[in-house]
Symmetry: C2
Subunit: 130 residues, 2 copies
Amino acid sequence: MKTIKHSRQRDAIYNFLCTRKDHPTADIVYNNILPEFPNISLGTVYRNLSLLTELGQIQKISCGDNSEHFDADISSHNHFYCRKCKAVIDLPMENIDFIETLASNSFGGKIESHKTYFVGICENCLNENM
Amino acid sequence: MKTIKHSRQRDAIYNFLCTRKDHPTADIVYNNILPEFPNISLGTVYRNLSLLTELGQIQKISCGDNSEHFDADISSHNHFYCRKCKAVIDLPMENIDFIETLASNSFGGKIESHKTYFVGICENCLNENM
DNA sequence: TATATAATAGTAATCGTTACTAATATTAAT
DNA sequence: ATTAATATTAGTAACGATTACTATTATATA
């Protein structure tokens, strides 16, 4: 059996993610951990982000902007992608997990989870146009 | 002003997409158009898929499997990603566009659209395990 | 038919991500 | 504590998806 050993780099990656609400990419995680681990390699960051995602400790957000974003908040919540400033932010709203039930009604497969993201212009970018 | 000129390649790409319900990637589109346009280049396929997406004639599906999928069906509908066979399929269900209203309630930005995809095991893969 | 210019083919380059390997860190057992 | 087993790392190379570049071709307009 393959066991998981503790790693200080993985802790640092996870802890950094916990401090951020803006869903950083692997590259951003890497650059922010460099001060503490000057020799950490980008591959280590990618490997641990994948591992943490598989373990369910973080989640991956794919919003079509050609790089994956990561979120240490694994509670069920939704995201918003601003097509102007490209930011990926949380969109606090009532829980919509019931759409999984709606989806199950006429579907023969097994639905395990869902991802929803909204697209538009964020509040900051709206205000800049005034 | 920049005008859009007609292109036989773009037509072929769009028409091919219309024949498919499985949301092919750029590479699959390319390989299926090769018989008709033996000299078409992959760049042309990518450029036109992007253009058609911008024009709203097709839609792009990002489901986190490191390549974009495309769909000529631009009506509001949802997708399912099978984490076993990696297929991206339609998931017919009642319309859930009202979640955009729910999202708007406590959000200061402008919501223009949303994307939802469900993840799990498709019917075919479920049956294979029996 | 001529002119303007958008689109293409072909290729090179870029970017995000993964794979490889020898060295290191962690864990469990002595 | 020491050792042994092995998971993890750093460093680098490789990969796949996508974009950029440029001379040529196709399309649209006059």
